[in-house]
Every structure is written in C-alpha cells, then in structure tokens.
Homo-oligomer: 723 residues x 2
C-alpha cells in the first residue's frame, strides 16, 4: 500500500463480556438475513478451506523476486494469480492498462559541509551485515531498483538544506514563524504523520528546489524496538520508497483523470506529460535511509529545532537554512507509458434481479521491491479466499450477486490499476453493493479494519465467526487487543470520544482516508467500502527488507494469520453476495455525520467564521432519522427485497456531489476524502472543513449548501426505501 | 540544590492585559500595608543597589575551585560570604556543625558481556574535547572528586543488570508484571521523574544488590538540545552526582533527626552509624554518564522495554535480567563526621512587639563541584541582596522584624546545614514570619516560583516592581513566559486545572515539595516559605560542567538575571520585614485545600476505599471561610497589628501535627510533604493520600481525623484573629 500501516486509531473501548467465547460459533441471526441458518452452513463449509500452508506457498512464490509494477516479474505474478483464479473456477482475465510511470535511471544524493568537504555520498544500498542475526538472503538481488520516489521528475539541483520535521502544513508554518524560508532550499523531512506526496506538495508551493524524505529511527527504527534482522524495525540503511503523486488531487494514471488508460486510449484523450502540474510534482524528491540522512542532520547549523521535531538520532537537530550543509541531488528518471496488469476474476450472480449488483473484492499485487507484507500478504490470503470460493462452487453454492475479485497493479504509484479499472466501469459500479479491500493483509497478529459507517457493523459481525489463532474468535481478540493497546498507551482516550457514535460498536473501526485501492470506489464512485488486515510491529515498509525472510521471522511464521485473513475476507464476500437485505447501517452513518457537523461548527467558531449550519444540520438530522427508520424496515423485511436493496445502495450514491470538491473534482464524496494536507488521513465532510481551514467563508457556505443537498437527496431515498 | 531545576509546572494562564506596562512602577497599594508610599520609597532605593557586575564577580570567586561541603575550599567560600555580610553591616557568624558525610576513596564500575569480555571500565572522567567549541577550562582540576552518590555505603558487588527506567514505584511494579525480578541484581535506572534517593529506596526494598543511576540523553542531553560546550545540555561524559539519602523519611545529619548536630553534641545523642537504616541506604549506588551506561544498555538482552522506557541512545533498549551483562561495582567510601559551616547574618528588628518574629532568607553555598548554577548563582544574587540591605541601613532604613540571612552548607548531602540550624532554633522559628529560599538563582531567563499558598499572592506582588532585562516588569515577563511555554507545549493543560484555585493568580506558582532548604522550615516547623529562581535550559546539573564557563555561555553572560534575582529576593525580605499586617492569603490556602480533598476523595474511590471525609471536609470549609473573613480584616486593619499578626502566623503552626506523618514523624505538616515515593514532588495532605495509595483504610481514617483536627485548630485561630 502507499500508506504505512498504523495502529494509531486504536483506542479504549469497553470490553463486552457477552462476546467472550471459547470457540466461535455461527450467530443465530445476522443483519441482512431473514434466516441465517442456510448461510451459516455455507460459512462453515467455506471456513474449512483456506489453508495456512498454501497461503505461505503463495507468499513465497509471489515474493521470490522484486516485482515493481510493469516489470517482467510483475507480469509473472499476474500470471500466477490468473492461474489460481482460473483453477478456482473464476472467469478470469489479465486486464492491461498503459500508464505513466517513472523508473530511476540514476540517483545521486550527496552532501557537502561548509568548507566543501563531502559529508555523504549516496544513496547507500540497503544492506545488513550478513554475519549478524542471520543477515538477509534477499538484499543482493541485482533486479532491485535504487530507492526512489514515484512521480518524482528528473532533476539536478544543488542547494542548502532546511529540516522541516514531518513536512506537515503546521511544520512549514512553524518554520515561517521561526523566520526560516525554504525558498530555493532542499527540504529534508522525515517520514510519518502525512502522505509523502503532501510533504512535496507543500514544499513545492513554498518554493523549495527539492525534497529528501528520510526514515527517522524515532518513527520506525530502533526507538521503537530492535531493528531487522534482530527485530521487526527498520535498520539503518533501509529506505522507504513511495509515491509522491499529489494523491489528494486525484489518483490513478496522471494523464487520465476520470478516464480509463486502456491500451487503445488515443493520445488525444491524455493530458500531455508537460501539463500534469495538478497531480505530479515539479521538483525532484528522493527517499533516504537514516544512515544517509544522519550526516546531513548532524552537520546542519542554524537554530535548534522545536522540542517535538527532535528525532532519535544521537545528536541535537537543527533547522539549517544557512551554509552549513549543501546537498546535490541528481535524479534521472525514465518517465514513460508502461503496461500494467490487473487480474480480474468473476463468479456470476444467480439472482436475476440482483446479479448485476457486483460485490467487488481486491488487493494490489505490485510491490516496491519484494512486498512480502505490502501487498502480497494480502494477495496470498486473497488467493486462499478464492480457493475457498472455488470449493464452495464445486459444492453447489451459488452467489445471488456477481462476485468480482481483483488483483490490482501499480497501486504503489498512486492507486493506478484500481483507479483505471473503476474509471472504466463507472456504470456497473453505480450499483455495486460493496468493495472489500485488503492491502497489508498481515504484518502481525492484531486484526484491524476501516470502513464506511454503513458497513462498520457488517465488518464487526463477520469476525464473530472466524477463529483466532490466539483462541476464541477474531472479534474477541480484536476487542482485547484494542483494550490492551489503550491501557498500555500513554495517551488516554480523548474524553469527547466516549460520546462518539462508533462507541455503539465494541470495536473501534477506522475511517477510510486514502492510501489504498478503496479510494476510487468510495470517494469517486460511492461504492460502500471496507479495508481489513492484521497488524503488528512493521518497520521495513517499502524497503528491500519487506521480504519473505522478514515475514516469517516477524509477522506470521506459520501463516495462521494469513488463514484468518483469508477467512474474514471471504466471509465479507459471502455475506454481501447473498444477503437478503443489504446490511447497510444508515443509523450509525447518521450519527457519525451529526458528530462531524458538531466538530465543524466548533472549528468554524475557532476560526472566527460566522457560518449558518442550519440547512446542513436539518438535512443531517433528517438523514439520521431516515437511517433509523429504514433500519427497522431492513430488519422486518421479508421476501424479495431487490427494490429496497436498490434504494439502500442509491442512498450512498446520493452522497456524491457530481461537481466534486473545490479544486479536486475527481473526489466526489461529500462525507469522506483524503485531506488535501494529510493525504492518508480522511477529512470528513471535506468540502466544508477544508474551506473553514483556509479559512474561506464563501467557499464554506457553498459547501454547506452542497452537503445539505447531498444529505437531503440521500435522506429522501432512505425515506422511500422499502415502503 | 539536590533537586533538578524544572519548568514542568508551567502551564497555560490567561494573559492579563492590565499588567502590560513599559517600565515597572511601584503599585499604589500592596496587601499588608496601610499605606504603601513609604515602603515604595525604600523599595526604589533598594532596587538601585544590586549590581550585575558585582554579582558576576561574586560568582567567579565563589566558583573558582570545587567546594564540596566540609572541604577547605568550602570553608573559603564561607569566609567570603562572611566578609560580604559583615561589610553590609550584618551581625555575622560562621556556624559549624559536625555531620556524617561520605567521601569517595575509590570508585570502580565495570561491565562484562556474556562471555566475560569487558564492555566498559569506568567511571570515565568527565571531559570534553578541548579542541571543539572552546572546550572547558575547569575540567582538569585535580581537586574534583570522582562522581559519586551522597549517602552510598561502601560495597563490592557483582551481579547481572536489570534496566528499570526511572526507578519509580510504577516502573518497579511494571517489572513485576513483566516477570523480571530485581532481587540480587544491580538495577540500572535513569535520572529523572523522582528523587534519586527514592530510586535506591525502592530498589533496596525489592532486594537489589546495587543501583547505577545514569543520565539519559533523552532527559537532559542531546535529545533536548546541543550539548556543552556547544550548547547548554549534558555532554556524554558528564555525570549527575547527588544524594541518595532517604530524604522523604527525614533530611539533615542522618545521625540526629530532630536534634542539631552542634560541634559539642555528645555521641550519646547520635544514632550509631550502624543503625541508620531509616535514612541511609544499605546498598551501594553510583551515578554514571551515558558514555559509561551505553555499553551496558546496548548489551542488555531480555525482553524489549515498554515503549515509554526507551531513551535517546541509538539502539533499542532491553530489560536485561539475564546473563547478557554482569556489572562489578566496587565503592570505597570514607564515611565520617565532618565539619560544615553555615554563615548566618542578622539585622535586628526595630519594633519591640515584633522584632523577634524573624524573616529568614537563605541559599546554600556548597556544591558537588563548582556549582556555578547550583547553588552559587543564588549565592551571588543573595550577596547583592545583602549589599542592598546594607546600603539601606546606611540610609537610615530600619526593619520592624529581625532579618536573618543564611548561607547553608551541605545542602547537597541532604539539606544538612539548614536542617541542623532549624533544629537548633525551633523555639524562635515558631514565630518566624517567613523563610525565603533561593537555590538555583539563575540558570536562564524564565522567572519561576513555588510557595505555600498563603504566600503565592505575596511572591507575585513583589515581581511587579522589579524591571526585567527583557523589558517591562518581571511579573509581565513571567506571565508571558508561562503563556508561551503553554502554547509551545505538546501537552495541553488538563481541563480540570481551569477551575483550580491558583487560577485566581495570573501566574502559576508551584507547590513546595522538597529538594532544597525550605523543607525544614515549612514541613518540620511550619514557617511559611517561598522558593524563587530564574530558569533556562540546564543540562549540566551536578556535573563538573556546572561552572563559570558554562554559566557565562548559557545562563546569564551579563549577570542581569543575577541582578533581577537579587532584587526580587530583596523585595521579599523588605516587604515581609516591614509589612503592617502579615500578607498571608488564607483564602487561597483554603481553596487549595478543598481541591486537595476533592482529589483525595476521587483517589479513594478509584482505590475502592470507603472513607468518610465528612469531618475533614467540614474543617476545610471552616478553614476556607475563616480565611476569607480574616482577609477582609487584614485589608481593613489599622494601627498596631501585632496581635493579628501573631494569630495569622499561629494559623500555619496549627497545621502541624505534633505526631508527624506515619513512619516519618520528622515531617509534621498536614498539608505538604515530599512524597515517600517521589522525594522531590510534594504530596498534598500527605497523611491521607499516601494511606490511600497503599491502600490502608485504617491509616487513612486516622489521618483524616488528624487533618480535620489541624484544619479546625487553624480555623479557630483565624476566626479569632484581629477581632
């Protein structure tokens, strides 16, 4: 994934004694089913199939070579996935797209001191001592590309260096306060806190000449625990590659926003490469290990940093901005149209009235290098999910709705494979009932999920049926993990959270921001989405060391969490494919939106804006009320519910604003978007809150109107649903 | 001081626009004066005298050699102070005491790896590279004692090592949870969070064989800023010396609790050296630099540490407790009765009715090495205060009350010089009206104070008259500093604080815990006390590098904060010596105590104790009400107020419990004591709260009774005062 795994959204939740159970049993009733008994039988048959050992084999084969998107090795992984899909009985195709990707030809980053002495000549290849803690068997493969940033242009720049902490908007504003300009400078920032493309986006807006992004040991290195190969954290030479695309503007092939980059797309429908300023940085950026960043940071002069800008390198950090350090970055990128390959497998639906209401599930396959965790722990699990679906088909099972399983390519460069496919299938996806994503399937033993509010209860519910390798059900362990995480955390839960609507669930389920393939589904197309995985300490993200050896030493040596992941992912598909009534919970959705409005009102007050929220508040209350009412009708419904289901699905589409967000029309969802200045983290009711952030009262007013309209549209649909 | 300087008590406070003024002017009215005009004239005359340059000269002379308590160089500093006191016209004596002090003869600390290889052989002498950043001109003096801990016994122990973070009670309990025993081990702890004697106290109770206390760069080294000589923070070889006396049991000469160790005290009145278990550790302890601690920490095996136990050394910390590291500590201490020298200067009082109501002011003079900041920045300022008092005397000024200025010795070993003197003068001190302490007079530009609640308003008030080198008054800058500190702090102010009684003041004034010479005054004797100083980044506490060179590079190059300190300290004395009505604010005192009771009730609930607070609550409310009423009478009073003043002073004495605290009867104050498990930090209504902590319901009940009785006694006195 292009987003680093995080346990940050975990928080204290009351432990529900009711769910403590020795072994998971199918629940008597599940939201969406008139009678769960038949489904429970199929669930049981399904759960028996995903195999830990086979998942391990998939993972080993998929990660045997570096398989960067568009490479021959990437194509081989596509063929492997195609073969497994077909073996399971899925109608399967490799779907190519032609998309713009940069590939590093030559990367030079070197630093000089005030008197011209060389401080560092890099980048240093990623390497651990083969004689210590078993070394690493994968690090010497000649096919490994030098560490680079996706979407970086070529460039040859020399400039003084300014350290800008995480490169958030607040960090750059702090530099302004301190009188340090980044204009004409190379900005050195550390990974973390926001999407790396946003770091470059802000630096570029402020006139920086280039950006270096390094991994501070405070964030995923020794400060967190032992470094690989002794432990799970980032060793000194390890680099985090990654895209610096301006993802919050739009994802996918930079040349074709809103249009699918099919192999036969005429050039006339592409934005010329020299007119991509909206989405592609104009200044060069490159990642660094802390081994290479340390000599620069150590030599930086200028004022000492604000206290919370200090990282874990063993010296006091300085802001720079003087002549103490000069860096020369020379990046030669081969930026060209390259072919990538999604793999798409289909199981037809059997209900004539609902067979075109797709259930889509997906995971990306491309990796910056080996990608054992990111993404192929997800791929290996998904293949065992498909294995299970195949066996069910042989046993006579039939899904009501069409199931579409996708192996995306070029996610790492900016969600490209998924975005192009979604852009190509806008019409059928208007009534797709769900998109289930998994990216990092397994980096450790802690199950985690994010979802649109209407599917939070749904995700929670499927985990009751799946056994955990730790005993009991996945759900039980999920609750327990969150409780322990909260107890051991130094940060206590913000008091305000206790009254939050999600407190109605006994697990905290995150909000979908961006950084993985659900973005084109939910935020561009309005397909209700979830994202699941099983997390743990994972410091080697996007480095050479995210490989099979790291995985079996740190994440899941016996692949039992792979098996768990395959099972949970599979139950999501099974339940959504055959539910009588679509199990969307608009009542929780409504409560969450009311909370967002409360926050926005407070935010406006703090910003000194006089905004009239009356219309949006009334619409949100109407939506919330309609959500509660339709929930009752969903529970009570009997017989063929195609019309109710159609309306339930339409209610999500109605939350899209066809005009999209200001300055980024590709993002059309009025409730969720990746933040313009966060990238990964969701901004809620984004049109409104980002206008308040500016602050821009006129824009905020217009966005309140748009939000109220969307909520009213959706409420009206819900009011009519099932009547 | 034996306590590290801290800005931790700073917090967000509303900025009072009313006090913004270009230059400070004497206020028209000051609490305690019928008519402030006459006093304002003397204040003005006084403020003109303390001289920055002279303060710098005092500092340079006082810190020209290491002057550990009882050393010949220490005696020379006593003579210097005596000479200056006498020159100002004070009746001055050097007052000797004979007290038990340990002096290191031989200190060996060495570490070995699992296969017996030597990891470290120390302690390494404190030394910075003379060629870098100007080096340090003081570090090579042969009179510097090796770094050691006061009160450590001799010992020769060899054991495996366990890392116990800061060595707080919570840290040791966490080790229990993790199944790591410290029994028979050498415990390696880092400085910070609690008093070092408490670290040893807990380790000893749990069967440790020895304790090593090191300075982690996270706490006062490069993680905070540049190390000396480039910056103000601790360089890698610098060691924090310090007492490991069990100060929370009792301070002073270990052999004479409650009794003055005069030179002629017969041995029969001393506790024999082998029966000092209450106050002196039985296991050896020694401080280490992080240079010496790093090889041990790096080699430690066992489980990784909890996240917040990780320091700033560049590797992942482990708990140890296995065979990975063995340490050999061989300490030879010469433990003997040694002579120390207080210097006491007196100005007689002129009011026959109140001349025996002493105003005492003091600062210690002894240092672990050079002590430029701790304590001689305070001594230099105090000498300029005395200079000012002397000039006033020549101008015809007369204090109503006797002024006693004290230069304490052997504070570093456990507040010994002050404690012995206080124990010797119990009778006159029963009606001493105040003790004004300064220890670290200046380590930087941020004025700070702690005080008993009745004197918080008083301290705040004197700072309006003193100009700040930053412009405006000290008070104005104090408010501003606290506001900025709060803004830049990542920790937001706890919401509960907003309703705290001290919010009535526009500056936050700390609570007196322990770690400096006010302890025998307030907590043993009930003399209302304050502690003031001017703080800044100060990472060389108790090391060789706390010297004149550090001071002029980091703290106060032109001694203008020395001058400020002399002025504020002097105004405290002037105002208290001549106030018509003693300016004690019992109304704030009452509100604070009511807050403490609220907290204790909540604490009891959390601990599951059923305690009846009714009597204490009623007594506290009565005390608070009496405080408000007497405040009105204080403001309205006219004429000779000796009787009112006597009662006001008696109200503080009434808060003492003659039986003292459980297990530590030397501490008699029912509202304030150093915490048994914190040492530095005050525990409020200590009898009650520490009983709840145990938890011990019976003891808590008895202590609630004692507290109620003290508050009732005091309230009754206040009710009668001035009637």
């Amino acid at each position: 994934m292009i987003r680093a795994a995080s346990l940050a959204f975990l928080s204290l939740l009351p432990f529900s004694a009711a769910i403590a159970q020795a072994t998971p049993a199918a629940p008597a009733n599940v939201f969406g089913y008139h009678d769960f008994a038949a489904q429970a039988k199929w669930d049981k048959a399904f759960l028996a199939i995903p195999d830990a050992k086979l998942a391990g084999q998939h993972l080993k084969i998929l990660t045997s070579a570096p398989h960067w998107a568009s490479s021959p090795e990437d194509y081989k992984t596509a063929q492997y996935v195609e073969e497994k899909f077909k073996a399971a009985g899925l109608e399967t195709h490799i779907v190519p797209y032609r998309v713009l990707l940069n590939k590093p030809v030559k990367i030079v980053v070197e630093a000089f001191g005030a008197s011209g002495q060389k401080l560092m000549s890099g980048p240093t290849p990623e390497h651990v001592d083969p004689a210590v803690d078993g070394g690493d068997p994968f690090q010497d493969d000649p096919r490994i590309l030098p560490a680079f940033n996706g979407s970086s242009p070529s460039g040859d720049v020399t400039a003084e260096v300014v350290y800008a902490n995480y490169g958030t908007l607040a960090d750059f504003k702090k530099l302004d306060e301190l009188g340090i300009s980044v204009k004409g400078k190379i900005v050195l920032v550390r990974y973390g806190n926001n999407f790396r493309g946003v770091k470059v986006y802000i630096a570029q807006q402020r006139g920086a000449k280039g950006v270096l992004i390094y991994s501070d040991p405070a964030d995923d290195g020794y400060f967190r625990g032992d470094a690989y190969p002794k432990g799970a954290y980032r060793p000194e030479s390890a680099v985090q590659r990654g895209s610096t695309q301006f993802l919050p503007i739009y994802p996918g092939d930079p040349e074709t926003p809103g249009v699918a980059s099919t192999v036969d797309l005429p050039d006339s429908q592409r934005i010329p490469a020299d007119k991509l300023q909206n989405n592609q940085p104009s200044i060069p950026a490159n990642p660094l290990s802390y081994k290479d960043a340390a000599p620069i940071l150590r030599a930086l002069a200028g004022p000492g940093v604000p206290h919370d800008w200090q990282g874990a390198l063993p010296f006091a950090y300085h802001l720079g901005g003087d002549k103490a350090v000069t860096v020369h970055m020379h990046l030669e990128q081969d930026i060209a149209l390259r072919t990538i390959w999604d793999v798409v497998g289909t199981i037809e639906g059997s209900d004539p009235a609902q067979k075109d209401d797709w259930v889509v599930a997906g995971n990306h396959r491309d990796a910056w290098v080996y990608g054992a965790v990111d993404p192929n722990s997800g791929t290996a699990a998904m293949l065992e999910t498909v294995h299970g679906l195949g066996d069910l088909l042989k046993q006579g099972w039939k899904p009501k709705r069409r199931i579409v399983v996708c192996s995306w390519d070029a996610e790492e460069e900016g969600l490209i494979g998924s975005t192009e496919w979604v852009e190509q299938h806008q019409e059928p996806l208007r009534h797709a009932v769900a998109y289930f994503n998994t990216d990092v399937g397994v980096s450790g033993p802690s199950f985690n999920a994010a979802a649109v509010p209407s599917l939070k209860q749904f995700v929670s519910e499927v985990t009751y049926e799946v056994p955990s390798p730790k005993g009991g059900s996945v759900h039980e362990q999920w609750v327990k993990d969150q409780r322990e995480q909260a107890t051991s955390s130094r940060r206590s839960r913000p008091a305000a959270d206790a009254s939050r609507p999600e407190a109605a669930l006994d697990v905290k389920i995150g909000t979908l921001g961006s950084g993985s393939d659900y973005t084109p589904f939910i935020q561009h197309t309005g397909v209700p989405s979830t994202d699941i995985g099983s997390d743990g300490p994972y410091g080697v993200y996007h480095s050479v060391f995210d490989n099979y050896n790291w995985f079996i030493r740190n994440a899941d040596p016996t692949f039992v969490y792979e098996q768990q992941q395959a099972r949970v992912f599979g139950l999501e598909i099974l339940h959504m494919a055959n539910a009588d009534v679509l199990p969307y919970d608009y009542s929780l959705y409504g409560r969450e939106i009311l909370g967002y409005l409360d926050d926005a009102r407070q935010q406006a007050t703090r910003a000194g804006l006089q905004l009239d929220f009356t219309a949006a508040q009334a619409a949100a209350e109407r939506f919330a009320k309609a959500g509660i009412a339709v929930h009752t009708r969903q529970v009570a419904a009997t017989g063929n519910e195609a019309a109710l289901n159609h309306a339930l699905r339409e209610a999500e589409t109605a939350l899209l604003d066809p005009d999209g967000l200001p300055n980024r029309p590709w993002y059309r969802h009025t409730i969720y978007a990746p933040g313009e200045f966060t990238g990964y983290a969701a901004v809620v009711i984004p049109g409104v809150t980002e206008a308040i952030d500016v602050p821009d009262a006129a824009r905020a007013k217009a966005q309140i109107v748009a939000l109220a309209a969307a909520l009213s549209r959706s409420a009206a649909i819900l009011e009519g649903a099932g009547k």
